[in-house]
Symmetry: C2
Subunit: 149 residues, 2 copies
């Protein structure tokens, strides 16, 4: 569990990244809001406290944090990128109706076998994503109501 800003400083330093207020805030936001926010959501949330924050900086920072492997960029949603603090490997479910992303904390040990197969061909693997897409249970219920059940 990360409780102190000090810890975010260590995270950045540990990856040879310069420590700036903006980076600390974005890191903190991602740690505290594990809702796979978009760049725009992060921007809109932080601009309240830091009126000088630029959306460019949010994009830049997210890219840097991704490259460092500190966070993950999710491409599960077809219209925008979402970001996730890189904690223990897990999968994602995307509801095509409401756009919600649900974490799937069910392990897939088989992934390791596939990774070995890919590595055998000389490729370098940085990220692994298991994406499941469909309609979430609450949207199914809403739909049933509309249909007159």
């Amino acid at each position: 569990m990360v409780n102190e800003v000090e810890t975010y400083v260590e995270v950045l330093k540990g990856h040879d990244l310069k420590v700036t207020q903006q980076r600390l805030e974005i890191l903190r936001y991602l740690e505290e809001h594990r809702t796979h926010p978009t760049a725009d959501e992060i921007y809109k949330a932080l601009i309240k406290k830091y009126p000088s924050l630029s959306k460019t900086t949010v994009y830049n920072t997210l890219e840097i944090l991704c490259d460092a492997g500190i966070i993950d960029q999710l491409t599960i949603c077809p219209t925008e990128h979402r970001y996730d603090f890189h904690h223990q490997a897990h999968h994602h479910f995307f509801c095509k109706q409401c756009g919600k992303i649900i974490d799937i904390n069910f392990p897939c040990p088989n992934v390791e076998t596939i990774k070995k197969d890919i590595l055998k061909n000389g490729h370098q693997i940085d990220d692994v994503h298991g994406y499941f897409k469909g309609i979430c249970s609450s949207c199914i219920k809403k739909r049933e109501k509309q249909d007159g059940y």
Copy 2:
């Protein structure tokens, strides 16, 4: 193996879709070019033979074919959508350097267990994607040359 245009007609009819020249051509293109093309690549290739083709039609058709489950939309590439004829389930590797997508024909039987877990929560699963991202072997080689190996 699909050899005759007749077969594409059957595919469309089998999904209660109207048969048009444009749809047949897009289907045929996807069947013959299993390179995960973008909408734009499909458009640029077909416009040569069918100068009246509109990009809107390409987008419309791809969406319809996706909804019908005939093709898959890949969101592995962060900047654009790619499309894949829906044949036997397989995974994808994306090279962050050259943008190439490589098919991974290595089964993941464990996926079924995860799907059951998701279904148990009442969600409906339409698509499953295994995305691996990194640097492909040929880009690694290029990089080594540049670095003076």
